[in-house]
């Protein structure tokens, strides 16, 4: 299955308030309940609960971090869908400007 590996991950982060991130990224790090999970394009399908911590993703070679507090993430080979609540300092680290 390596022949049609997607080149990037479509990351969607959705909070109860709004659609926070909707972008194609190179890598995502999820704070799962059992530690941080690095997700690269072509990852095996995974459905995981999230714990407290920083969700990081690489966009245009830059790393962005979002503090999250619990939630769920659905990983497909070409996409990551995250439902979460933001951690406390959501304004100071607002992503994508």
């Amino acid at each position: 299955m390596s022949e049609n590996l997607p080149a990037s991950l479509h990351l969607k982060i959705i909070t109860p308030g709004k659609l926070l991130v909707d972008a194609d990224v190179e890598a995502v790090t999820l704070p799962s309940l059992e530690g941080y999970l690095g997700i690269l394009p072509g990852h095996r399908p995974l459905f995981t609960a999230l714990g407290k911590g920083d969700l990081a993703y690489c966009l245009d070679k830059r790393e962005e971090k979002i503090p999250v507090r619990g939630g769920y993430a659905e990983v497909q080979p070409g996409s990551v869908l995250v439902f979460t609540e933001l951690g406390q300092d959501e304004d100071s680290s607002s992503p994508l400007g």
Binding site: P16, K18, S32, P45, Q76
Partner: protein, 287 residues
């Protein structure tokens, strides 16, 4: 021909009414802006979660949770959401008519239980033979998230213990400012599109295991659905009231201009008449 004083009085009272409708329009515009923001910002969450939920439940299988299990509809619970106050056009009456039609469809084959939000719904269904399980008839606008969560839990409990076999929600979805869209949605069981297995080829890994994940995900899903229905209805109500009050203000304007026209004509006529009388008198004296 009506007397001048009566006309003046009518015009004045219509002007008063117009002022009130104008004020109500302003108030509901402000409220509408606020609830529209909630709806627009929340929609991505509300509309993506059901899709995810469907995929998850397809992977987990029907036995994973009692909330996923589909049963024959012998007992049906229906959540009806209206507003507390009137003066918002056909907002409530259309919805209640649709709800009554839906109940008529279901009631021959199933026992019905009602969960009502909004004074109008409670007044309407008081006269009907269906049992009301839960009703919020006061201060619907101020209903806290806690109360909505309680409704979601109540519905889940009833479904889990097989006191009901399906839960539907009937509410006004905020579609555009001009007209709300009456929506009938099935909340429980978490519906899979019929005949279509949307699950991808292989099931994903689970962390932690699927049963525990579903246990926490399903309540979140239900709460989100109830929030969704409620806030959509709230925004639609304000939009409907805004429109209704705008129309009322415009009608008052038309009415006033018509009446002023009549008033002027009558005034003119009476002046002409008086002039004529004076002229006749002068003519007679001159002879």
């Amino acid at each position: 021909m009506p007397a001048l004083i009566d006309l003046r009085r009518r015009i004045k009272s219509i002007k008063n009414t117009q002022q009130i409708t104008q004020a109500m329009k302003t108030v509901s515009t402000a409220k509408f802006k606020k609830s529209q923001r909630t709806v627009v910002e929340g929609r991505s969450h509300w509309h993506t979660l059901p899709g995810l939920m469907k995929r998850v439940s397809a992977w987990a299988g029907r036995q994973a949770s009692p909330l996923l299990d589909r049963r024959e509809e012998h007992k049906v619970d229906i959540l009806v959401i209206t507003s507390d106050k009137g003066l918002c056009g056909a907002f409530n009456s259309n919805l209640l008519a649709r709800a009554a039609a839906f109940l008529g469809e279901k009631s021959p084959s199933a026992e019905i239980g009602l969960i009502l939000i909004g004074k109008k719904a409670v007044h309407f269904f008081k006269k009907q033979p269906y049992p009301i399980l839960l009703a919020h008839a006061d201060k619907v606008e101020k209903l806290a998230l806690k109360d909505l969560r309680e409704i979601a839990r109540f519905l889940m409990r009833r479904y889990t213990f097989a006191r009901t076999d399906a839960v539907y929600a009937i509410y006004n979805e905020f579609k555009s400012i001009l007209a709300p869209k009456i929506t009938v949605a099935q909340l429980l069981p978490v519906a899979l599109p019929e005949g279509e297995k949307s699950a991808p080829a292989w099931s994903p890994d689970w962390m932690p295991d699927s049963a525990r994940l579903l246990q926490s995900l399903l309540p979140l899903y239900m709460e989100t659905q109830v929030f969704h229905c409620f806030f959509e209805s709230l925004a639609a109500e304000q939009a409907a009231r805004m429109m209704a009050m705008e129309n009322a203000t415009k009608n008052a304007e038309d009415l006033i201009s018509d009446l002023v026209l009549i008033l002027n004509k009558i005034r003119q006529a009476s002046i002409t008449k008086e002039l004529l009388e004076i002229m006749t008198a002068v003519e007679a004296l001159a002879k």
